[in-house]
């Protein structure tokens, strides 16, 4: 494979598609599929056949606006239809070539215009299981360019220059991680793609894997070339069956095209990827736990150092990056690190994909440049809180993050500013809450999550999260005293400072951030035995507030 051959594949596909006057793209991401967009696609194909028009009906990945699904995008006119069902198929096909169907049209200018798509540039435009669709949109150009024109050092320099930071939540500079693995000595090295998106309320990685899986494989192959690895693993949750099946199909396609396997592009470089299924353990998102899981063991973390970059999978140097991080690599190599560095803020470059959910009008997936304000995302792109309710807080970073109140809505989205606000970037979950949500109850929800997901290896996390949960349950049932609140704050500090891995170290964050901004709600529960949002059952009192017995 070389650049000319890639161009030939793209040209052939374009010629084939030129036979059609129109293209109907049907969103078949998990959200729209749950509303039977697969049947819709069949109906559309039938209607096209009956009409005799030259129309291509294409299955695509996620178009982002899950709230308005099933979505249908008509090319080349770029008309977007929302809430389309099988009964509309004939009307939609008949309208091709004339006026669009007004009552189905989605006119959410504000939603789409403020977004910048880098990672999602192909989502909703290509058939995720057809590699040629990806190649026709500049796919694999970056890999071929890297293999034929660049040294591994050049690739790392380009990634470093882009300023890309890990999109899994930590924000570690990607270029630095790559160069550490490249420098590490070892006869074998591995590249792992972390698709164990355990954060409840986040689905960016699922969507990227479902909508544009080749992009992730290309990013991994480039990384493998840069660090000197020849074997890769994608660790993906078993709860994402569609992502797994599309990834499996994509691996087959990539091998068929000679873009994975031995001697890619007639060079010395060989690389192949295997899928490993997670089995429902949040802690496996932590890199050392994930490695243990790939080795077939219980997913428990171990102390670092040694870091995976030096001694990871089977004690060999291992590069672990998140799905979205790998998805950023092809455009960086295609357009150059400088291009990427122009997007975003001084320390947080590029764009970030967020899963916008909760009490917000336009739920779905959005991609915004770093540095945009939370207000622009929530009120502009998200369309604000529905039902006449008042915005109360936005939760980012999942169980490791915190709640940001409305006073801080104008802060910019960057790794630093979110940490300063007591939350964190996290993997990209953004859950909006209104005046019907009780912040103490939300904190309790997250602690319950961390308690059940604690792997049990270290005491502060195993016993600490259970005690935190007991204290919060007391507050939420009206049986807590002020002394309990002091104990809660004290224990948060202990768990944070002494836990072994990120799960325990960040578990108190939802409590600390709600205490920081919504202490009055805590006091109302404790002093007046009243839940201002009317969520907590204050009569429950003693029922489940007895301390949990946990073996220390």
């Amino acid at each position: 494979m070389n650049l000319e051959e890639l161009e030939q594949i793209a040209e052939n596909l374009r010629e084939g598609n030129a036979r059609f006057d129109h293209e109907i793209n049907v969103c078949m991401g998990t959200g729209c599929l749950s509303q039977h967009s697969d049947r819709l696609k069949d109906e559309l194909a039938k209607a096209v056949a009956a009409s005799g028009k030259k129309v291509l009906v294409r299955r695509t990945g996620c178009m982002g606006l899950c709230a308005a699904g099933p979505l249908v995008l008509i090319d080349p006119d770029k008309t977007l239809y929302q809430h389309v069902n099988t009964a509309h198929a004939e009307t939609v096909v008949n309208s091709l070539g004339s006026e669009p169907v007004a009552e189905l049209q989605c006119n959410l200018r504000a939603h789409f215009e403020e977004q910048v798509h880098v990672v999602l540039e192909n989502s909703g435009h290509i058939d995720p299981e057809k590699i040629d669709d990806y190649i026709a949109r500049d796919g694999y150009k970056a890999l071929v360019k890297a293999l034929t024109e660049m040294t591994p050092g050049d690739v790392i320099r380009e990634v470093t220059e882009s300023g890309l930071r890990g999109r899994g939540g930590g924000g570690y500079p990607t270029g630095l991680k790559w160069s550490t693995v490249a420098k590490a000595a070892g006869d074998a090295k591995y590249v792992i793609c972390n698709g164990d998106e355990g954060d409840p309320g986040a689905f960016m990685d699922r969507s990227v894997l479902e909508s544009d899986p080749q992009r992730v494989l290309e990013g991994m192959a480039i990384a493998a070339y840069a660090v000197g690895a020849s074997k890769g693993y994608v660790y993906v949750r078993a709860e994402y069956p569609l992502a797994v099946s599309r990834l499996t199909a994509s691996l087959r396609e990539a091998r068929r095209r000679g873009l994975l396997g031995a001697n890619i592009c007639n060079t010395q470089f060989s690389f192949d990827v295997e899928i490993r299924l997670g089995a429902g353990a949040f802690v496996c998102g932590e890199e050392t736990a994930l490695i243990a899981s790939i080795e077939g063991k219980r997913g428990t973390p171990r102390p670092r150092p040694p870091y995976p970059a030096v001694g990871g999978l089977w004690n060999k140097p291992t590069l672990i990056n998140n799905v979205e991080t790998f998805a950023n690599i092809p455009p960086i190599l295609r357009n150059g690190g400088k291009w990427f560095a122009r997007l975003g803020t001084e320390k947080s470059k590029g764009t970030k994909v967020f899963a916008l959910t909760g009490k917000i009008t336009n739920t779905g997936l959005v991609e915004v440049p770093m540095g945009i304000s939370l207000r622009q995302i929530i009120e502009g792109i998200g369309g604000g809180v529905p039902g006449g309710h008042a915005f109360k807080a936005v939760q980012t970073g999942g169980p490791s993050g915190g709640c940001i109140p409305k006073e801080l809505l104008d802060i910019e989205v960057s790794y630093e500013s979110l940490i300063q606000a007591g939350s964190m970037m996290g993997s990209g979950g953004m859950i909006v809450m209104d005046d019907t949500s009780c912040m103490v109850n939300v904190a309790r929800f997250f602690i319950e999550f961390c308690m059940t997901e604690s792997c049990g290896k270290c005491i502060p996390c195993r016993a600490g999260t259970a005690q935190l949960h007991t204290l919060l349950t007391r507050i939420c049932s009206g049986s807590a005293s002020i002394a309990d609140l002091d104990l809660l704050i004290d224990l948060c500090g202990t768990v944070k400072e002494t836990s072994l891995c990120g799960l325990g170290q960040t578990a108190p964050n939802p409590i600390l951030s709600t205490l920081r901004y919504f202490k009055d709600e805590y006091m109302e529960h404790i002093v007046h035995k009243r839940c201002p949002a009317g969520v907590c059952n204050m009569q429950a009192r003693q029922t489940d507030a007895s301390p949990l017995e946990v073996m220390a």
Binding site: A238, R298, G429
Partner: protein, 166 residues
């Protein structure tokens, strides 16, 4: 426990064991294929029983304690047979904010079993999941694996009653 070099026989003549052995063979009977093999058992039989865990552990020469440890550590593995139908309610954050706790309480009341359990007639299993990634459609319920978004209490009960009437 099998000694090094000898392969244990499958627990029964059921043909599905060939699929399980196939997964292990594909991975060269390496110890790290344990989770993959258990996944295959669960997708073929619906759950993992003692005989299955022993067979996989013996074939891969993994200590029984480790195999049992792995089977119980990961939430995805069931150690008891599921009912004829499974209702899985998502309890991720987005679904929680949209009131999924009421769905769970209502389903528990209706079926008379706690989450994670099967009704005594073996008909319906009630499960909760930590986010299935369809947060844009919250609250979400999986009825026999099929995803249903923006679920109301009434719709869920309707489904449960349809199953009960079968």
């Amino acid at each position: 426990m099998a000694t090094y070099g000898s392969m244990p026989d499958p627990p029964s003549a059921d043909k599905r064991w060939k699929i399980v052995t196939g997964t292990m063979r594909k991975n060269g009977f390496a110890r790290h294929a344990l989770i993959e093999a258990l996944h295959t058992v669960q997708s073929s039989f619906g759950y993992l029983d003692d005989a299955a865990i022993r067979f996989v552990a013996g074939s891969l020469r993994v200590p029984l304690s480790q195999a049992y440890g792995v089977a119980t550590f990961y939430h995805y593995f069931n150690l008891t047979p599921p009912g004829r139908h499974t209702m899985t309610i998502c309890t991720g954050t987005a679904c929680y904010i949209k009131g999924t706790d009421k769905l769970v309480a209502e389903a528990e009341k209706r079926l008379g079993v706690a989450q994670g359990r099967t009704t005594s007639d073996g008909n319906i299993t009630l499960m909760t999941a930590r986010c299935v990634g369809a947060c844009g459609r919250a609250p979400v319920v999986l009825a026999d694996g099929e995803l249903n978004g923006q679920m109301t209490c009434e719709q869920m009960i309707e489904q449960l009653e349809r199953w009960a009437a079968e």
